[in-house]
């Protein structure tokens, strides 16, 4: 399915966001094997902030007509940045942070039926929300962080693209819009791979996941914070979406967390060798042989 933003259309840029415990503060309850969440501050998953920043920059570039290949006249379609997050009610705070940074709209997917979701159930629910948001209206670009700081799977982005039947590009470190006159024809992306990067072109609609290095997220503005304080956040539960109850939350999850544990750290003691360099080398060699590291 090829969709191109025509005259007077909207470019829907959707950012998927997850609220995670502040990275440095993760502790595991040894008794239950679950993450300790009480009293741990929650933040927007760091690469999701890069995703939002990229969305805001694209919106700014389009609005100022500064996009490469754009005609001199201002584009006739409007970019709208919507942030979607699935999570418990306190996720609203992170959505307000996103609004303060400049997102146009925020949607919270919140329902007991969504709780305990693995990546499969999460992408299923997000896909339903995005269908409800945009239907067949306008052109879509979905931007996600490449992975979450807590789950670290990197699954949700590609799974969501699959569910929506659109292409995806993962681990993007640079993203440019391809303009044909006032229309967005597609994107050109640099995708990070182990030994360099791949240059990829794709039409819209499209999903990309971005890496932290793609940009440096802005700080909120006071006017943005004041707007965000008063903004109404859309909250959708299972009954608001076209979803099958058996496919959301824990019920819809294909995986089960059996146990979360901290690996045992090897107990080792440092030992200082003294003497001349020759003596130290000789002693070290002896110890390595003794430990059967060297034979």
């Amino acid at each position: 399915m090829k969709m191109v933003a025509g005259l007077n259309m909207t470019l829907h840029i959707t950012v998927c966001m997850k609220q995670v415990p502040e990275t440095d503060e993760v502790r595991i309850d040894r008794a239950t094997g679950t993450l300790v969440r009480e009293g741990v501050p929650c933040i927007i998953n760091p690469p999701d902030l890069n995703a939002l920043e990229e969305a805001l920059r694209i919106r700014e570039r389009i609005k100022s007509g500064a996009t490469e290949g754009a005609t001199a006249s201002a584009p006739v379609f409007t970019p709208v940045v919507t942030v979607v997050s699935m999570g418990p009610p306190q996720t609203e705070a992170s959505l307000r942070d996103a609004l303060a940074l400049g997102a146009d709209r925020a949607v919270l997917l919140c329902d007991r039926a969504f709780a305990g979701a693995d990546t499969l159930a999460t992408s299923y629910t997000l896909a339903a929300a995005i269908r409800r948001l945009w239907g067949d209206q306008g052109t879509m670009l979905i931007i996600c962080g490449n992975k979450s700081a807590d789950g670290d799977t990197g699954h949700v982005g590609p799974q969501l693209a699959e569910k929506l039947g659109i292409p995806h590009i993962t681990s993007v470190r640079r993203l440019d819009l391809d303009m044909e006159g006032p229309e967005v024809a597609g994107v050109r992306a640099e995708r990070l791979v182990d030994d360099g990067y791949e240059a990829v072109e794709a039409p819209l609609p499209l999903l990309v996941t971005v890496v932290k290095g793609i940009n440096s997220p802005r700080l909120p503005s006071l006017k943005g914070m004041m707007r965000a304080k008063k903004a109404v956040i859309t909250v959708w539960g299972a009954s608001d979406l076209d979803v099958d109850a058996g496919r959301t939350g824990l019920a819809g999850s294909a995986t089960r967390v059996v146990k979360v544990f901290e690996p045992e750290r090897p107990k080792s003691r440092g030992e200082f060798l003294t003497g001349t360099p020759e003596e130290q080398a000789r002693e070290l060699l002896g110890k390595l042989r003794e430990a059967r590291v060297l034979l």
């Binding site: 700080l219 503005s221 006071l222 006017k223 943005g224 914070m225 004041m226």
Partner: protein, 389 residues
């Protein structure tokens, strides 16, 4: 101490603190060493709307006042007083327009100052006219629809970097203070150039430069208020910005106290942290008490001004004198607590001591401030005598 900030004030303080911590503190040392103007930081402050906290909403600001401005200046100063000076001087250049400008002047200049698209500056000092504004030598002569400016201003903060300047010149040297007149001059006006960039003891990333006027013709409508009112414009402006200098001093002092307290906890001598020796404990106690007292006086003054009190020259001067003297003492003691490390430029307290010094000097020396406070005290005594007699 809890100062019971409103939700909005807390938001402003938190955002300024975050920028100070995340964006300014990491580069403060480098900015100081290179004496490099902090444009990157100014851009961040602009995007965060912080330049507009004191500007009314109808001119694109956030509608706060002197107190909100003080909250921002204090937080920025905890990280780098040079950055804070640069930020605060834009308000110093903009306040005369807010207080004395015509509606057209306000609409033309304030939105750009509030958004941070343009920096402003205030130009009073000259080589022979510091506190003695009546001795200003820069002249302004009316010629048709233009004033023609000639002369040189000295030590102008944001000089060369700012786009909008409030400049004091005299329309009649024989009239002394009564000839002094304020004008708005835009950068780029033919005949308006910049001279030497000064090398300073502290606040080294801020720009301090000469302004040179050579037959510089500015439109007549750039006159602020009326001819001969320049000294009043300056005094009323400085009454409102002195709490900002006090807030800067409080921020510098707090930053030094934070460093000294952290060091006292960690530095071990004779088998225990030096913070457990009474000699150091008592120094920290005095420093903390002085900083809090300075903050309380600064906040009380700022809030009094914002509440609409008409006369506040004395309180404004008191806040500036007290806080800046506290900053000098507390930063000196912080250097002392850090000992050899305190004296080294690779450690962050000697910069604060250098930065603190200027708060006792600029926007009116502390001696001049006392010359405002003293006569006010005498006048009050005379009034009490009259009322009782």
């Amino acid at each position: 101490m809890n100062y019971f900030l409103t939700e909005e004030q807390q938001m402003i303080k938190d955002l300024a603190a975050r920028i100070a911590r995340e964006k300014i503190a990491p580069v403060a040392h480098e900015l100081d060493e290179k004496e490099e103007f902090p444009w990157d930081i100014m851009k961040i402050l602009a995007e965060s709307d912080l330049f507009g906290v004191w500007v009314p909403e109808e001119y694109g600001g956030l509608g706060g006042g002197v107190f909100e401005q003080c909250l921002v200046v204090e937080e920025l100063s905890r990280a780098c007083a040079g950055v804070a000076t640069t930020y605060a001087s834009s308000a110093l250049g903009g306040y005369p327009i807010l207080l004395f400008g015509t509606e057209d002047q306000k609409r033309k200049y304030l939105p750009d100052i509030a958004s941070g698209r343009k920096l402003a500056a205030f130009a009073q000092s000259e080589a022979e006219a510091g506190s003695d504004a009546g001795n200003i030598q820069t002249t302004a002569v009316l010629d048709g629809d233009h004033y023609v400016l000639n002369g040189m201003k000295q030590w102008i903060t944001n000089g060369g970097e700012a786009d909008i300047y409030t400049v004091l010149a005299t329309v009649d040297r024989s009239k002394g203070v009564r000839g002094v007149t304020a004008f708005i001059v835009e950068k780029g006006t033919p005949g308006f150039e910049f001279g030497r960039k000064e090398k300073k003891m502290g606040i080294r990333c801020s720009s301090t430069r000469e302004l040179i006027f050579k037959d510089c013709r500015i439109p007549r409508e750039n006159l602020l208020d009326r001819e001969g009112k320049g000294f009043l414009v300056a005094m009323k402006t400085l009454d409102r910005t002195r709490p900002g200098v006090a807030a800067q001093a409080v921020g510098i002092a707090q930053g030094a106290l934070d460093e000294a307290a952290a060091y006292a906890r960690e530095r071990v001598q004779f088998g225990k942290p030096i913070g457990e020796f009474q000699a150091i404990e008592h120094m920290l106690a005095d420093m903390a008490t002085l900083v809090e007292a300075a903050r309380a006086l600064t906040y009380a003054t700022a809030r009094m001004i914002d509440a609409g009190e008409r006369e506040f020259s004395k309180e404004s001067a008191m806040a500036k004198v007290f806080a800046s003297d506290v900053a000098m003492r507390v930063t000196t003691d912080a250097v002392q607590i850090l000992g050899g490390y305190g004296y080294m430029r690779d450690y962050p307290v000697e910069k604060r001591m250098r930065d603190a010094k200027v708060t006792q000097i600029y926007e009116g020396t502390n001696q001049i401030q006392r010359s405002i406070i003293g006569p006010a005290v005498i006048r009050e005594a005379a009034r009490r005598k009259r009322e009782s007699g």
